[in-house]
């Protein structure tokens, strides 16, 4: 038995499930269309552009998302460090501080560039 066999089985299952769901939904689901059903997503932004010059992109939405990612990543790395804080010692502390400092830079950049001002 190959060590990879489980991976392949899992992959096949995942693919099979995806195909199965899409196909079966096409057969069994009720087909009552309205405008909302044709939207790409039920939240977020229209993927196709608005008339030229008329529709401006609310870039703020993405800026907030980026801000979320900055702190999210910070958190992901802070957790394991916190758990092993005493073993890692001074080296770990310095490394982590440098990491936090570097992460602060994009935050500062976004703040100075007005990314936090939501009109």
């Amino acid at each position: 038995m190959n060590v990879y066999t489980p991976i392949f089985i899992l992959g096949a299952l995942a693919f099979g499930f995806a195909a199965f769901s899409v196909v079966i939904a096409g057969f069994t689901g009720p087909k009552r269309y309205n405008r909302a059903k044709y939207d790409a997503y039920e939240c977020g932004i229209e993927p196709t552009p608005q008339p030229i010059g008329g529709g401006r992109f609310p870039v703020k939405y993405y800026l907030t998302a980026m801000m979320f990612i900055i702190f999210d990543i910070e958190l992901v790395f802070l957790y394991p460090w916190a758990v092993a804080f005493d073993q890692l010692g001074a080296f770990g502390l310095v490394a982590m501080m440098l990491f936090l400092l570097n992460l602060a830079v994009p935050y500062v950049y976004e703040w100075r560039r007005g990314g936090l001002e939501w009109d």
């Binding site: 060590v3 990879y4 030229i52 010059g53 770990g92 570097n102 830079v105 500062v108 950049y109 560039r113």
Partner: protein, 510 residues
Amino acid sequence: MNFTPPAIDYFALSPMIVIFAAAIVSVLVEAFAPRTIRRFLQLLIVFGALLTSAVLIVLNAGTRTVTGGGAVVIDGPALVMMGTIVVLSILGAALMAERSIDPVGDSFAARASSLPGSEDERQLTQRGYLQTEIWPLTLFAVLGMLLFVTANNLLLMFVALEIISLPLYLMTGMARRRRLLSQEASLKYFLLGVFASAFYLYGAALVYGYSGSIFFPEIAQSLTSKPSESIVVFIGMGMLIIGPLFKIGAVPFHQWVPDVYQGAPTAVVGFMAATVKVAAFGALLRILYVAFGGVRWDWDPLIWIVAVASMILGSIVALLQTDIKRLLGYSWIAQAGFILVGLAAASPAGLESTMFYVIAYGFATVGTFAVISMVRDANGEATNLAAWAGIGRKSPLVASALSLFLLGLAGIPLTSGFVSKFAVFVAAIEAGATWLVIIGVIASLIAAFFYVRIVVIMFFAEPTEQTASVVVPSAFTTISLSAGVAVTLILGIFPQPVLDMLSNAGLFLR
């Protein structure tokens, strides 16, 4: 559980650290410095950091060490590649710093986020805003390239790949003129680049699953110690090298190249065409020679296929192009194929000749794009070949410089291109791939045809009303151009010192 902090050789890492620190400072300058002095400060930081880094690389000459917990390796070839990348970056940055070619300002959009053709854009342009975000992005890209050629494990290599890519995607979309084309190219580059990265990552996972290690030397060890169940690890390896193969634009991962060459700001193309190729070949060499050096016969056919496909498709399709930037895009694809011929040799000579080739190619490329950025008509750069008719009559010096680069790329004797082509072909023949070389020679003859075609158009066609004019640039572009000319000639006539340096650089540290 005892934890011992990894030993870090800070001096060996200093070329990267300098660039990284400068990049951070550069971001802060964007955040805090007033608009009026930003450009000046950024240029100071960028050129200061690159020059310092270059000096530190020279001081590191002879270092052979693995540091940073085994993640980074500084050895002869790595130092050569790093030095080449930094020097080419200086020349590329000089192209980007050029301000006197375009009457409106530099070659970048005043604000990349404003809609093309909008009122907003017009106002910003009128007020003479200059884009300075390009500079931190440049520094990050250079940092990524330096890490790419020194990475000694799969993970750091992936991180480096991303650090190279993300800034380049953005820089591609920043052209001041023909912005829609530029943004389209940027998006395509991004989508396909992410796709290629995913291949790399999946391959890395498979290789790790097989060998239980992400470090190249240990992967090599496990390949020799348990060779039986290895089909999956080869699939992993194949997917792994798709990352660098995408970056060098080898067939079948090449479709982004012409679009990006055409769309991106010319100065950025000059920068990235020269440096990324060096970095990606550095990484490819390290993966194949260090991690998979023991199973050369398994990956050689793959490289053969890619090399042949790249050489033939690149050379033949380039024959019919009418846009000079697009043409050079296809030429890049063909050149990637030629370099792969040397790489396929899998020998010290292969390593040496490949490195020589990317060096020669890099300098010729920076020079070529310096010239292209100078040839303009009313709508900005004149990239249609029709506008190049008779340029040689108007500006013989500039046209001669471009002819030199093109003849160099074509591999005409007494230019750097000839020595480099000959070196890779000889390396391949010594390794027994004679048929590959024959295909290579034929492809290079086809390629010579379209390179010479441009020379002919420049010198032998009568100038028409469409013919563009050559703008006199400032010192920035002039420096890049002259450096390109000098290196192309010197490497063609006196290649020996550089060849000696390359053979003294020795092999990869395993």
